[in-house]
Subunit: 336 residues, 2 copies
DNA sequence: ATGAAAGCGCTAACAA
DNA sequence: TTGTTAGCGCTTTCAT
């Protein structure tokens, strides 16, 4: 690998001048610039980013910490982030924590010691203290899909509570008269908010009882089990709002196994908008603008890295009701 | 951030000694070691990985280049790779090329200039020359889901051709007498091999004609369109092998829209094993051991990085027929 | 068993 | 406009 010194020799100038043309900074004569450029070309030179980072420039790398890469929500987010990052010359180090706080902690330490220029934190098990510690080490952070009201930090989230309410309202409008909810993990903010949205809509209905809420885990397996529970507790249930699409898929599967027709006997709606074309019958859902959220998060992070001071507050994104087949009133459509 | 110098001062020794205990290398007295360790603790010291890399040690980072993070196959692969990597103290830089050769090329350049210790290449649009160039720069590479017979390089693939044949044979055994195939992108090796497997089994059947092969794109939308084409060209088709599960889901959806019953009128099978519970009826498929393939790839890469010389050849993984509902001869099972 | 010092490749004053 | 040089934080001979 050619170094900046090789280039300077070939171009007959000093390394400083070469550095100047690399960074387009400071004055440099047209002719020498040409000479340097062709020397770089001749040597197939490409600056060593490690050395550059060590010398004080950023690493042009950001860390992305996510809890579960198997949940399609996160690859979609990662896609957006990677797009914006690479458009701006940045790379993304991916850290999947598998919801393991120890791994998460280690992740953050490593990212810092790798001098990433910023961190995108989409992990749901993160603790407030860790955020504070990150902020102390002066590294820009943007939170995604999570928020800490008590800490001033830039966060990107969807209107989860409103989304939950929208989902349930849709079920009510489609004629459901006893609606269950499969909620996500207890400690996850998004899952709580969606559950609150559910309660907003039907907490005061005469038929409502707390046992209509079953505990899931944001995975399809949890959705499967929760659906079975729900049916055994309330065989007369006719609508279910699952806290995310993965669980909705599990629930759909459980209903099918139980011989219950969707949407004829039970209508089902999820949350996220990741499964639209991935299931048959197609899943109704409340979708988040995942790509927009991801790219916005990365753009904020870039601005923080550039030294801007942004308001450290929550940026909420609108959600959208997507009506597909699992909530259609008329049931499975007529053939042709 | 504390540096090695700070630690050495506090511990009353030289930086060299500190370096020795960091790297567990060379002799160092029990007492000084203790002193150094407590100094590190007191200063909350963590060695700067950038400096470490510059000084000649590896970067403890590998690059993962994938074509399409939205296809669940790749997150599953990434999951395995990230697990093995982080178990070994490595980080993964994720590069999504979106099947864009220019981006792919840039990716590789950047990875090299970031001094990654190795690269996992799962991109399907990669060209032989690029591999050769990588090898020239002496950076370890393992290919995934792709192979170049003409170049000596370690590759991880599933038995795609055999898998394709297994899928078709299963359809034949279930009584299909006219089987179509929805193939993946033209330039992708895996998609070609699966197609060849299809032809191995039914290329010589009396009913076979090339128009039974429709062109897809590995996405569900492509599967949807291809299935429509197939039906309009051959209304009497009674079995379909889709080149991956994504397309199979699209195909199932198309069949459903056309009012064609699966599996009664048409049996359908996919490839990959990523869609287990996502469809009603559940999708039969030929599954690849994705997690194993990913972790094996990373393990090979680690060994290459460690300096081992491994046989530069193709490591093929067995695939497995997973019979679910879309190919059941008796059709949809009775309720309960 | 430990230390001094020379890099690794680049950037950024400071001079010239 | 260009060059000299001192770091950035760590590893690693080579002495001691």
């Amino acid at each position: 690998m050619a170094t900046i010194r090789d280039v300077s020799k070939l171009a007959g100038c000093s390394v400083a001048t070469v550095s100047r043309v690399i960074n387009r900074k400071g004055y440099v004569h047209k002719n020498t610039e040409e000479a340097i450029k062709s020397a770089m070309k001749a040597l197939n030179y490409s600056p060593d980013r490690i050395a550059r980072s060590l010398a004080g420039k950023g690493s042009l790398t950001v860390g992305l910490v996510i809890p579960d890469i198997l949940n399609p929500f996160f690859p979609q987010l990662a896609r957006a982030i990677e797009d914006v990052a690479s458009d701006n010359g940045y790379n993304v180090i991916l850290c999947n924590t598998s919801n393991d706080p120890a791994k998460e902690r280690k992740c953050l330490d490593v990212l810092i010691s790798k001098r990433v220029d910023g961190i995108l934190l989409a992990s749901s098990t993160i603790l407030p203290e860790q955020i504070l510690e990150l902020q102390r080490s002066a590294i820009p952070v943007v939170l995604i899909d999570h928020q800490f009201p008590e800490i001033p930090i830039l966060s990107i989230v969807a209107r989860n509570r409103e989304g939950g309410a929208i989902a349930v309202r849709h079920l009510l409008e489609e004629g459901c008269r006893k609606i269950g909810h499969i909620r996500g993990p207890l400690h996850v903010a998004a899952s709580l908010d969606r559950c609150l949205g559910y309660e907003d809509e039907c907490g005061s209905e005469p038929w409502f009882i707390p046992s209509l809420i079953a505990q899931g885990d944001f995975h399809s397996e949890g959705g499967f089990r929760a659906m079975q529970e729900l049916i055994s507790r309330h065989p007369d249930i006719d609508g279910v709002f699952a806290g995310n699409d993965q669980m909705a898929i599990g629930a759909l599967h459980a209903l099918y196994k139980l011989g219950i027709e969707v949407p004829q006997q039970v209508k089902l709606i999820g949350f996220d908008g990741i499964a639209s074309n991935r299931t048959v019958p197609q899943l109704s859902t409340v979708s988040q603008p995942i790509y927009t959220m991801g790219s916005q998060a990365m753009e904020y992070l870039l601005r923080l890295i550039a030294g801007e001071t942004l308001p450290q507050q929550v940026h909420e994104f609108e959600v959208q009701l997507v009506i597909k087949e699992t909530t259609k009133a008329e049931g499975r459509m007529a053939v042709q």
